[in-house]
Amino acid sequence: MLELALFSLLNGLVFGMLLFMLSSGLTLIFGMMGVLNFAHASFYMLGAYFAYTLGASVDFWPALLLAPLLVGGLGALVERFGLRRVHRFGHVAELIFTFGVAILVEEVVQLVWGRPAKSYEAPAVLDFALFRLADNAFPAYKGFMLLVAVGIFLFLFGVFTRTRAGLIIQASLTHPGMVAMLGHNVPRVFMVVFGVGSALAGLAGVIAGPVLGTFPGMAQVLGSIVFVVVVIGGLGSLTGAFIASLAIGVIQTSAVALDLSLGTTAASLGLPVDGGGALQDLWRVTIAQVAPMLPYLLLVLVLIVRPTGLFGTRET
């Protein structure tokens, strides 16, 4: 049982750090531009597909660098020629625009790469078990994912606390509108931030593709969960995004290990359960079954109690 708990925790950590790579970019974009970017996970998907294609022609390692750069460039273009145009129609229009981009990217991916899942594999160098405990193996590639994610985290942390640009960005997260006062070229800053955020998402796609699958629906699977992370953590709060990412990652993986249901819980407490009626399923459902729903439940609850999210200071 102990190794199950340990592996759950490790897997939760890997998944949580992956979420952070996505949510950091999203929260950065939201914090500075006020745009909730529905297309963020689409850039994640593009990262995986670009790496798949590049990996076939060059190799995984150059692709690890090139694919995020390409995705970042694409993100900057979307900002420059799409979002900036829509900006004057207000935030709802911006949100709806990114919603449209998400649909379009999914369709274009299907057009170019086809509908079936792609066999995007981890590099052979990393195809071994890092360590074994009881019968469980921890693949080296997951270790690598964790390493990259921690690297990105440290990098972001360094940039934000040690560099001038980072300080400006941090300031503008809490006081949007301040960047303009500092005399910076705001549109250019927006474009760069959007590009960097997209590139981060792309990188997440490159490293997650081999594990979570590379298929046209991969953006949708992850898209709303990243939203949940960012909103629960508090819009515009990097700390919040980090903590929420890890929390959601660990909650989701460890909930799978729990076979408790309302029925069994009630029974173990000695309460008789009347298993009939339209709600009979309520007693049957286990925590493991509802694991992927938990983030949404958490989202609704957090927003009811604290509309700013756990670490946020702003509502919209």
């Binding site: 049982m1 509908r115 066999s119 019968d135 693949p139 979570l212 992927p292």
Partner: protein, 416 residues
């Protein structure tokens, strides 16, 4: 800017006009509708099915057609949505097409079956036949059966009966883990597994019976760890699509070596995506010979001919050939395309399929009875691979027809 929109409106007006104009009158060929996903995430499956239907229709047509008429497959895109399927069904009926094939998703199958039954009862003048080539919910030929529905695939319980026969014979299996998607099919597989194993091998322990949300699980590692922790000797799953691929990959990564008995872990990209992760681990329960290592001649010719036309697709549903040919034969026997007459002709019809098996359409519930095969995912001795991946299915065992037949549980009401 407004001009682009103008143009679009122009196109729209033209489209509306074209649509309002009465459609062309039905010509000579016998038209057969095909309602399945041709766009969206499941389009690959739907398109491959359509190609196999057209391939089979071309063979019939080259041999002179039916009643001197050609067979034409008319595709309708349902996006695997029950609602969209019903809209397409209305088009089929409106166009006067008497036969329709559908197979992807039991949810859609129920919607279509129910709608066809209601339509036929309310409109005796324009009845249609629903020919189900792939939706395997047992209820369709049991409690929900009706005269205008026929199924050409073995349903989930038949497959499970065959599978549990194989497991029964394997003394090494003592503990079984059942995992599936949390919806009707996943639950039906789980229930059937528990019930039949309990009858055939009461000594086997079901160490896990897990349902996970469909299409929502991002990482299957936690599930794999649970399976490992349970000490299972084999896994049974009805998972399909990305849920199947990711489960197989997580099993490989997590070092889980036991066999997986599956229903849908092959072709349409799944074989390629699973790749080396599934070798000697994934097993498939299906209704046709897998083509390896030694395919019966008709099947080998059929596959080879198809590959020549569609290098990127596979014959993964040999029953399509069976279904279309049995329909053609029924039309021939009935001497017309009248739905009631053709249905009557189909009842009890016998046929020898590409695998060389004798199959029969049971009149009591309109379920085709056939032998069932269990194959293993491998790259050894593969002549006909899937997805051009070098991986394919190789025959492990065959369960004869009488062993795979379950009693009919349908009260069929025939039109007087």
């Amino acid at each position: 800017m407004s001009k682009a929109k103008r143009g679009l409106i122009g196109v729209l007006v033209l489209a509306v006009v074209a649509w309002l104009a009465p459609g062309a009158m039905s010509a000579d060929p016998i038209r057969v509708a095909y309602i399945d996903p041709l766009s969206g995430p499941f389009a690959a499956t739907g398109e491959n099915g359509l190609k196999q239907f057209r391939y089979a229709a071309d063979q019939i047509n080259r041999a002179g057609g039916v009643l001197g008429r050609q067979v034409e497959i008319v595709p309708f895109d349902n996006k695997v949505s029950p609602q969209e399927s019903l809209i397409q069904l209305k088009k089929v009926i409106g166009d006067g097409i008497p036969f329709l094939f559908q197979g992807n998703s039991s949810g859609v199958a129920h919607a279509i079956s129910d709608a066809v039954q209601k339509h036929n009862e309310r409109n005796p003048g324009s009845r249609v036949l629903y020919l189900n080539y792939s939706a395997v919910d047992p209820a369709l030929t049991n409690e929900k059966c009706h005269f205008w529905h026929f199924r050409f695939d073995a349903h989930a319980d038949m497959k499970m009966a065959a599978l549990t026969d194989v497991i029964k014979a394997n003394a090494k299996i003592k503990k079984i883990y059942v995992i599936g998607q949390d919806y009707s099919f996943g639950k039906a597989v789980a229930d059937a597994a528990v019930k039949m194993l309990g009858q055939k091998r009461p000594d086997i322990q079901i160490v896990g019976n897990e349902l996970h949300p469909i299409g929502k699980v991002k990482d299957f590692s936690p599930y794999v760890q649970k399976i490992i922790a349970s000490g299972a000797d084999a896994v049974i799953t009805g998972n399909w699509g990305a849920d199947m691929v990711n489960l197989a990959k997580a099993a490989n990564d997590g070092g889980l070596k036991v066999p997986f008995y599956t229903y849908y872990a092959a072709s349409d990209g799944v074989t390629a995506a699973i790749g080396a992760a599934g070798v000697d681990r994934i097993r498939l329960v299906h209704e046709s010979h897998p083509g390896n290592p030694d395919a019966p001649k008709p099947l080998a010719d059929h596959i080879a001919g198809y590959k020549k036309l569609h290098a990127n697709n596979d014959i993964n549903q040999a029953r399509i050939h069976t279904a279309l040919n049995m329909l053609a034969l029924a039309v021939k026997k009935a001497g017309s395309t009248d739905a009631d007459k053709v249905a009557a002709a189909l009842e009890g019809m016998e046929w020898t399929n590409l695998s060389g098996d004798h199959v029969v359409m049971r009149p009591d519930d309109h379920q085709l009875l056939m032998p069932i095969y269990i194959s293993v995912h491998t790259n050894k001795g593969i002549k006909f691979d899937y997805d051009n991946s070098g991986f394919g299915l190789s025959l492990e065992s065959k369960i004869e027809r009488d062993k795979a037949t379950l009693p009919a549980a349908c009260t069929m009401k025939r039109p007087s």
